[in-house]
């Protein structure tokens, strides 16, 4: 395998997460993520897409060490074993990775004024800063995300959904992170607000050279914001490809079906859709199908798919986990 010249900022290999759940009266292990590997370069945005239950949020939480992983390694430049960190060492790395949550209002303490909420990450993670320095940073970021200093004394409920999301973005950026994980940051917003926040995220990408993991099921937004896209299904990687290639020529049958399912705001195109591209629903992670996890819904399934787990391999610039990727 030829890797690109500079080492990636974040290198994830065979990451696995499982949860203990009670099922039919017994404790069983639910595999939420299985052998997930990918790289994230500096200033790159990687989109993570897939249906509910595919493991998108689990991936985000495991990378941020909010939930424990039980397999695999994650390396953060220079050579930090992210999964092995404890205590002070872990805390010192937290300022390098931050998260933007789906629901901007819910992610804030309802009884804390916005000014304090924004300052708090600095107090915790950048104790060397003086109070005037903190205040100055709060003011400059507030402006950067399109809010005013007059908002500092307000409480979360006094903001609209779009404004709250701007606050969430500002809060994640307070400590100057290198990597920002966005977990469905647009999905609770109205169309016009969504367009504004998308534009803001794009501006920040450019200005701050951020690396982003952009988790979404809004595929048009992914196309607008992401350099590369990773497609998850039932905790496994189906395909990783540069954005342009993925939307232009999806290689994996699941990626294809996802793209074909997106409603098109054009009646001439939409009318031709009489049947859904994909039958059935995502199976339970408690009893994943043998072989390829997608085979129970795949229109191109063959015998081999039930017997053999397809490994990710390079095909025309994409990494695809499908036995039939060449012929399709």
């Amino acid at each position: 395998m030829i890797s690109p010249a500079p080492a990636p900022l974040l290198e994830t290999r065979n990451l696995g997460v499982s949860y203990a759940v009670r099922h039919a009266g017994r404790l069983v292990r639910l595999r939420a993520l299985d052998a997930v590997s990918f790289d994230l370069a500096r200033a790159e945005t990687l989109g993570i897409v897939g249906e509910s239950g595919s493991g998108k949020s689990t991936l985000a939480r495991a990378l941020l060490r909010l939930i424990p992983a039980d397999a695999g390694t994650v390396r953060l430049q220079p050579g930090i074993d992210l999964m092995g960190l404890r205590g002070a060492a872990l805390r010192s790395v937290r300022s390098r990775l931050q998260m933007i949550f789906q629901d901007g209002v819910a992610a804030l303490d309802p009884r804390q004024r916005i000014g304090e909420a924004l300052e708090e990450p600095l107090v915790v993670l950048k104790p060397q800063l003086t109070e005037p320095q903190r205040r100055e940073r709060v003011r400059s970021l507030l402006e950067r995300v399109g809010l005013e200093t007059g908002h500092l004394d307000r409480f979360p409920h006094q903001f609209s959904g779009g404004q709250a999301q701007r606050i969430g973005i500002a809060r994640a950026l307070m400590v100057e992170p290198e990597i920002v994980v966005c977990d469905e940051p647009l999905s609770s917003l109205d169309v016009s607000i969504k367009a504004q926040i998308t534009a803001l995220l794009r501006q920040l990408q450019q200005d701050l050279q951020l690396s982003m993991l952009f988790i979404a099921h809004d595929l048009p937004a992914v196309q607008q914001l992401c350099d590369r896209v990773l497609v998850l299904y039932l905790g496994r990687v189906m395909e990783i490809a540069p954005s342009a290639a993925l939307f232009d020529r999806p290689r994996h049958p699941y990626t294809r079906a996802l793209l074909q399912s997106v409603p098109i705001p054009d009646p001439r195109v939409a009318r031709d859709r009489r049947t859904a591209p994909l039958a059935g629903e995502i199976p339970s992670s408690l009893a994943p199908p043998s072989g390829c996890v997608f085979r129970t819904r795949c229109p191109f399934v063959i015998d081999r798919c039930a017997k053999e787990v397809p490994v990710l391999r390079y095909i025309g610039g994409a990494e695809v986990a499908c036995h039939r990727a060449e012929e399709l």
């Binding site: 109205d190 169309v191 595929l219 937004a221 996802l258 997106v262 054009d266 009318r271 859904a276 591209p277």
Partner: protein, 270 residues
Amino acid sequence: MSTEALLQIRSLSVHYPAANGRAAGAVQALCGVDVDVAAGECLGLVGESGSGKTAILLSILGLLPPNARLGGSIRFRGSELAGMPLKRLNEIRGSRIAMIFQDPMSALNPYMRIIDQLSEVPRVHGGLSRRAAEQRALELLEAVHIGEPQRRARQYPHELSGGMRQRIMIAMALIAEPELILADEPTTALDVTVQAQILALLQEMRGRTGAALLLVTHDLGVVAQLADRIGVMRHGQVVEQADCLALYEHPQHEYTRSLLAAMPRLRLPA
């Protein structure tokens, strides 16, 4: 003049007076709305949060909260629904006008098996015996493509996936063979592949039953697929109404144009 539409809404207004009786806190949810739905037609109502889409559906069904003040007229097959006594309204809703809610989990009764919820409708509205009603329920589970209908019928809502629950909601709406189905964001809570399935199912059911559909959504992609005509709502008013194709290709109102422009589109190869 042509005959009256199946549903004819004229000068509909809804407002919520402030608790203290002063004008300052009052909220105008709908203001002078005129909407027609012809028999067998699908009218899509699009708009952002707070534009009044759902308020129209709730007005039709008489489900507005008690402090709401309703003005104007809502005629269904020539009968005035606004101000209709509850007893008469109950003969219409659920049987001749049905509703599909956004969140089937909160619309279904968590304590009732699917079969019991479904067969309640034909027992109440159709006067069928338990056995006949259950038979009808099973037929409908098959019609909405629920796999293993016999087994699913004995389960509770929490045992089903979101997509399956929405299929149940659709079955429930169809069971009394209504002339008009109201759907409030029926696919918003679903994944995109399941959304495509539910939209295809709604289309199939319209073809099969000939029921009219009043579809409320924020998604211009969803209405593009289903609607014959579209109304665009903003601040409690319908700012533009047009045939589906005309609305997308020649939007007249500034707001429609900005909505269409804000709608992210997937750029796909030809």
